[in-house]
């Protein structure tokens, strides 16, 4: 077992940092030093700054992907009844084809679900030379003729921006021509920004501009929320929806797990936005508030305790006794099974250590689940987070906007003359704040981590290997690219992007799944099978004498 290894050296945080930087060329080391932070005790000193959302150094084996991956792959990929058409050479569409494990149940009225279809204009060299606009228009027409979808979303890949194809104009023309199909485009070329994060922002802008507020059906439920930044990987969204439904809370729109056109279009009718993944979706939360008057709170359905807390926050917002009672009843009903599962694994997981390097929120959220199992997070960081995801939103006014971020459009939103409606009076909002319900607030990852733990932004292959060798965690959480190099070291790795083949891990049932999965990983017999008898005892002390 992994735990059988002796931790021979006790590393001091400063030495760990020095060791990580040792091998780098001077310039690289200087840059990386600012992205590797030793967490301070929050109450004593002003928290130190971390550099995040900056370029990865060429040649570094990074975990990061591109803007297209953030836009098409993450935000728009999980939708079911919108045709996603990628304009570019074939690869970009191929790689984003069902690989993120977003589950969809096709809840749209006509049972439409296009998630299993990978569509591309398959640009050829002649399109690169002569332009691809005609081909794009033809492809939109062919997709329309075949599927008659409500909407077609067009995604740009690197060469599209370089050769100057005006995809927005093509989309506009085709929308007009088709009449009953909303066609819109995303300028999410892979070279923009410094990571997937720019793609999230671009997707937020376009979904808000082209979809939100376009529904004509009125949602009349009593407690209406939006769930922002939940992608239904491994069925997380299904579990959250199950709980919400049981509580009597209506989820108008999930951005964007198992989402439909109508959900996006109705998002303006919710009375509260609940933000799961702050990094990928906070732009939409802000815009929904500005344009339609919907306040937002940060919630987290990862971890049983966090789920209960989030449900209570929602109930507190609506301030309805019946809802509050029902939420409490649901928590009381769900928790015993969760608690039994937790206590069952606890003796085997307690005291184990973990490192988490994913995303823009999960490296934070999953610490809740590990805490519930008595596991300590030694080191964590985001692949594409910004400073506010680490230090909290209070740093936002002071964020430096560099040239890479400046290129990503910030859309200006104003209160809608017809649809803007404050959900609560300023007095009501203030009372809720005084009662502890914080709006538009996210404290970030750092305050929840111990003093002296190592927080690393944009961790790379080299640093990951060093960290694991130095600190010998019992578990390492990252993505598929990192999985097997870590496991070769004899340390189990859990994918927290796509969950390997597991899930759901959100909500109450998800917590049970996660406890059992982590118990399996950190206690697997396989890690004790790596040495052959002759490797454990290489000395031949005596030869066997056959009778």
């Amino acid at each position: 077992m992994a735990t059988a290894k002796k931790k021979v050296v006790q590393w001091e945080p400063v030495d760990i940092k020095a060791e990580l930087l040792k091998q780098y060329p001077a310039k690289v080391a200087r840059k990386r030093a600012k992205q590797i932070m030793i967490n301070e005790a929050q109450e004593n000193s002003p928290p130190s700054e971390i550099v995040a959302n900056v370029r990865t150094i060429p040649g570094i084996i990074t975990m990061r992907g591109c803007t297209y991956a953030g836009c098409k792959g993450v935000i728009m990929g999980p939708t079911s009844d919108i045709v996603n058409l990628v304009h570019g050479p074939i690869g970009c569409s191929f790689y984003a084809w069902l690989t993120r494990r977003n589950q969809t149940s096709a809840s749209g009225e006509k049972n439409e679900n296009f998630i299993t279809y990978c569509m591309s204009t398959d640009m050829q060299d002649s399109d690169i030379i002569f332009g691809g606009e005609k081909k794009l228009a033809a492809a939109i027409q062919e997709a329309y003729d075949l599927f008659h979808p409500k909407a077609i979303a067009v995604f740009a890949t690197c060469p599209v921006g370089l050769i100057g194809d005006d995809i927005h104009n093509v989309a506009r023309q085709m929308k007009e021509k088709l009449g009953d199909c909303n066609v819109f485009a995303f300028s999410c070329e892979g070279y923009k920004g410094v990571s997937q994060s720019a793609g999230h922002h671009i997707a937020n802008n376009q979904v808000f501009t082209h979809l939100v507020g376009k529904s004509e059906t009125e949602k009349t439920d009593k407690f209406k929320i939006n769930l922002l930044g939940e992608y239904n990987i491994g069925g997380d969204g299904f579990e959250i929806d199950r709980i919400l439904k049981k509580c009597g809370i209506s989820n108008i729109a999930t951005f964007s797990g198992n989402s439909t056109y109508d959900q996006f279009a109705s998002a303006n009718q919710a009375d509260l936005s609940c933000v799961m993944c702050h990094r990928s979706i906070n732009y939409v939360a802000d815009m929904l508030e500005t344009k339609y008057g919907i306040p937002w709170i940060k919630i987290n359905f990862i971890g049983a305790g966090a789920t209960a807390k989030s449900l209570r926050k929602i109930a507190q917002y609506f301030g309805d006794q019946e809802l509050t009672d029902r939420v409490e009843a649901v928590i009381a009903e769900e928790m015993p099974e969760v608690e039994a599962a937790r206590l069952e694994v606890y003796p085997r997981t307690q005291g184990k250590t973990v490192m988490i390097f994913v995303g823009g929120s999960r490296a934070h959220h999953y610490q809740e689940l590990f805490n519930e199992m008595g596991m300590k997070t030694l080191s964590a960081g985001y692949e594409f987070g910004h400073r506010d995801d680490y230090e909290g939103r209070h740093v936002l006014p002071n964020l430096k906007v560099d040239s890479d971020s400046r290129n990503i459009e910030e859309i200006q939103v104003e209160a809608d003359p017809l649809l803007y409606r404050p959900r609560k009076s300023p007095e009501e909002m203030q009372l809720l704040e005084e009662d502890g319900l914080k709006f538009k607030e996210y404290q970030g990852l750092n305050p929840d981590m111990d003093k002296g733990s190592i927080i690393i932004d944009d961790l790379n292959q080299y640093e990951a290997e060093k960290l694991v060798q130095m600190l010998k965690p019992d578990l390492f959480c990252a993505g598929i690219k990192e999985k097997y190099s870590i496991q070769k070291l004899g340390v189990p790795q859990k994918q927290l992007h796509s969950y390997d083949s597991g899930g759901p891990y959100a909500g109450f049932k998800g917590a049970v799944n996660f406890y059992q999965e982590i118990d399996r990983l950190v206690n697997s017999k396989v890690w004790g099978l790596m040495q052959a008898p002759w490797q454990e005892n290489p000395e031949l002390s005596a030869t066997y004498v056959w009778e």
Binding site: T56, I61, C66, S120, G193, N407, Y484, Q531
Partner: protein
């Protein structure tokens, strides 16, 4: 129905590809480069390219796939990627210390016109590449050909490492094409049995089917060494397996170093393996040992034993040209009937070759190069089959149409074993037959009414 929007009626599409049977060049170049010992593949493009290729290769091989990227930004896309690449080369040699970096381009760097040979020369001239280390490059624009083309382009760049030779070294170059690490191992085993000293390149065995030992090394012991590649020009001949994957590299060695070449089919199935073994013994001047004849005999024996289940069963196939050509021939040779064959890789030669191989199949045969799996599915709806052979994405068609599926090709994302059990050679043929028979008979068992449910087949 997961593909419920696919209509039976086929309409012509000129601009829209749906459910492709190919992906882009760079991933092929990355896989090929992993078959060089001590090599770090490098993607000269946006971060996403490298991330996507590494993810897909990792999901297929279930092994670490290390590769670096030039991490293009909007600025470098405007001003050119030279500065990024020079910095990348410096970073890579300092931090990861490979023997060699194999760079491939992307649609991004090709569209902006980055001149790879010029940048590599600059790197060398300015001592950015350390003494004794190598950097090679292959152009792999994603908007030309497919992943197979990219593989071929990188293999060609490997062949281009050959240095002029004054005398022959008696070895034979074997270029295996895009096959699994275990297939490369099997080709080496067969060549050793025939007594021919070969240089196999690329060779991902020992790289992408490594052991779990508690130690990680970015550069495992497998792979064709730089020295071996440099010595390719001294070989007495080259056997290129697969026109699409391997022929360009073999022809380059012929043109530049007068190493004669023969282009063969990939050795999948009986006849293609026969031709490979026969070619090996001919160029090597050796005789085939009895053990190989026995292996062949076992395959023939198994074909005979299983023939009753295979006879005139209709098969739909999707994959890459070289693999499909050999597989189609194998299926025809065991009296199965491949009737729908699609590759995403362009090339009319493919259609011609498949038509030749299937000319005596007693049913109409559909074949398309630069086709897609949407079309394949429509063909199946119009003319149902008994078996589907292809990569993991076929499972959606198989489920909708309730078809037995044999996973074979790239990528396989939902099953394991393809890295370890070869399908080339006679032993590989046994493996293919076993998989086909299991798929067919599992279905027979599942569907049999109680009174027809049989113990013995």
């Amino acid at each position: 129905m997961l593909l419920r929007h696919t209509p039976k009626e086929i309409s012509e599409r000129k601009a829209l590809m749906i459910n492709p049977a190919k992906t882009c060049q760079p991933i092929g170049a990355m896989y090929a480069a992993l078959g060089i010992h001590g090599c770090l593949p490098h993607s000269h493009g946006s971060q996403g390219c490298c991330a996507y290729h590494r993810s897909t290769l990792t999901r297929h091989y279930k092994e670490p796939i290390s590769a670096a990227t030039s991490s293009f930004t909007e600025g470098s896309s405007v001003f050119g990627g030279q500065a990024n690449l020079l910095q990348a080369i410096n970073t890579i040699f300092t931090v990861y210390d490979p023997e060699i970096i194999a760079i491939h381009t992307t649609c991004l760097s090709e569209t902006i016109g980055d001149d790879l040979p010029q940048i590599l020369k600059k790197s060398k001239d300015e001592a950015n590449t350390p003494e004794g280390k190598m950097v090679i490059g292959a152009p792999t624009p994603s908007y030309v050909g497919s992943h197979v083309t990219g593989f071929s382009n990188m293999v060609k760049a490997m062949a281009d490492m050959a240095v002029p030779a004054t005398k022959k070294n008696g070895k034979v170059n074997v270029i295996p094409g895009w096959v699994e690490p275990c297939d490369m191992e099997e080709i080496k085993r067969l060549a050793a049995m025939v007594g021919v000293d070969i240089t196999l390149f690329p060779d991902t065995s020992g790289v992408l089917n490594g052991p779990l030992s508690g130690e990680y090394t970015m550069f495992p012991k497998g792979g064709t060494t730089v020295a071996e590649l440099q010595g390719c020009g001294a070989a007495i001949g080259t056997l290129a397996l697969g026109e699409w994957c391997s022929a360009d590299a073999a022809r380059l060695l012929d043109t530049k170093h007068k190493v004669p070449c023969r282009v063969l089919d990939m050795p999948f199935g009986l006849k293609a393996t026969d031709r490979f073994i026969d070619a090996l013994r001919t160029v090597g001047g050796t005789s085939v040992p009895e053990e190989i004849s026995d292996e062949r005999g076992q395959l023939v024996d198994m074909i005979s034993d299983m023939h009753q289940y295979f006879y005139h069963k209709k098969v739909a196939l999707v994959g890459d040209p070289d693999q499909l050509i050999a597989m189609t021939e194998f299926l025809v040779s065991i009296d199965m009937c491949p009737i729908h064959i699609v590759t995403g890789t362009p090339g009319k030669k493919f259609e011609k070759r498949i038509k030749e191989i299937t000319k005596d199949v007693p049913f109409p045969v559909n074949v398309k190069a630069w086709g897609d799996m949407f079309l394949l599915h429509q063909w199946i709806k119009n003319e149902p089959v008994d078996l589907l052979i292809g990569n993991t994405y076929c499972k959606y068609i198989a489920r909708d149409e309730d078809l037995p599926l044999v996973r074979w090709g790239f990528p396989i994302l939902d099953r394991q074993g393809h890295q370890y059990f070869p399908t080339v050679g006679y032993k590989g043929g046994l493996r293919i037959l076993e998989k086909i028979l299991s798929a067919l008979l599992d279905r027979t068992d599942r569907d049999a009414p109680e009174e027809k449910f049989e113990l013995v087949f």
